[in-house]
Symmetry: C2
Subunit: 200 residues, 2 copies
DNA sequence: CAGATTCAGTACCGAGCGGTACAGAAAAAG
DNA sequence: CTTTTTCTGTACCGCTCGGTACTGAATCTG
């Protein structure tokens, strides 16, 4: 199928990347179309032609965020031991929450927590996406139990949920301006709750 | 000073209590004046006469929330040992986050996380109020160190921050619909990071 | 009683929202 | 060249927002 007419004059991926930052800083409801299009450097009309509407733009933005800004999570899952998986994840998470070239905090956490009215499905969508990460971690921990890397009576879902609780709590702290070193100190304490193979 | 004119025809405290629930469920920006006055059972005009404006109403609502819904935190601080203080706080917190006669989650956490634009000072105000609680806990833990109740090399601020991280992470989970038992399981794991006098 | 204050209710303000319509220019295919 | 598609830009849609003005009735003090 051939292409007819004037081609798109902007880089949709680059524009989406800029939209991510706006949603990250201001949340779904707090980011107005004027904010978004201004940051994306394109016109209102072009945005609707390229992405459909605000909600679809948000979905695309969250997908890009998960792919680029959460890459450390997938890398952490590849660590050889459960302890290393968790420690790598939480430390990288604390650093990602406080990168000085990015908004502080986590897009998924602060993007839709307050959306309780008409946009309740946004909050549910974000919660489900976080739950998917928690599930992936639980499966990795279940494998660790099979490998004798965690005590056999460990509940992998409960442990994964605890890790995500620390991650999200740190996200709330980061959004409040707590510095990186303080987040890492919380990670260090949190790691004391993780069983190690040696202690078994 | 005497009172002249028609007296107020509604219970301001009861109306404020209803406003708390709306802010709790929908956040600061998500709660419209129509939502608020409808729940409070009073007129728009009466609200402005009694509370000033939306932001002052929110301040009053948060104060009432801290006084009534966070009473368990002050009770927890009165526990005899640091371990008991933390465990009592986190368990009561998990239950408060999932009371079926109240909105799920924490007003302070979900009330203003997404407020990044004009209402940024709301988020900062909420963060400061959470920090005050963290500071109170840190002082209680410092006393515990003096009493030999925690190892002398313990950093009370870091430990208090960790406890608040767990509390806020659980608040995020609760807002996502995670049930009480799951929150309590995270508390149980989190407690493994808390030193006890016996283990010293 | 008169005067003061608050009541409930409604209509309205300017502003911003998400989204659309329409303009005229630009760049591709045939 | 014509046609088609997308471009940029502006104006506008209906709606909701927080907040105000005004009305007439109600209820207090003095």
């Amino acid at each position: 199928m051939a292409h007819r007419g004037r081609p798109r004059g902007f880089d949709a991926d680059a524009a989406l990347k800029n939209a991510v930052e706006v949603f990250w800083r201001q949340g779904y409801e707090g980011a107005s179309l004027s904010d978004l299009t201004a940051a994306m450097g394109i016109n209102r009309t072009s945005m609707y032609a390229a992405f459909g509407n605000k909600e679809e733009l948000f979905h695309r933005a969250l997908a890009l965020y998960a792919e680029e800004e959460m890459a450390y999570a997938r890398e952490a899952l590849a660590q050889p031991t459960a302890y290393a998986v968790i420690e790598t994840f939480l430390r990288a998470n604390a650093e990602a929450l406080t990168r000085d070239d990015r908004p502080v905090g986590c897009l998924s956490v602060q993007g839709g927590l307050a959306a309780g009215g008409d946009n309740g499905h946004i909050a549910r969508f974000l919660a489900d996406s976080r739950l998917a990460g928690e599930q992936a971690l639980a499966e990795r921990l279940a494998r660790a139990i099979e490998e004798g890397d965690l005590p056999p009576d460990t509940d992998p879902h409960a442990l994964a949920r605890y890790v995500m609780v620390v991650s999200e709590g740190n996200a709330v702290h980061a959004a409040a301006g707590v510095p990186r070193e303080a987040l890492l100190a919380s990670v260090e304490i949190a790691m004391r709750a993780i069983p190690t193979r040696q202690l078994k």
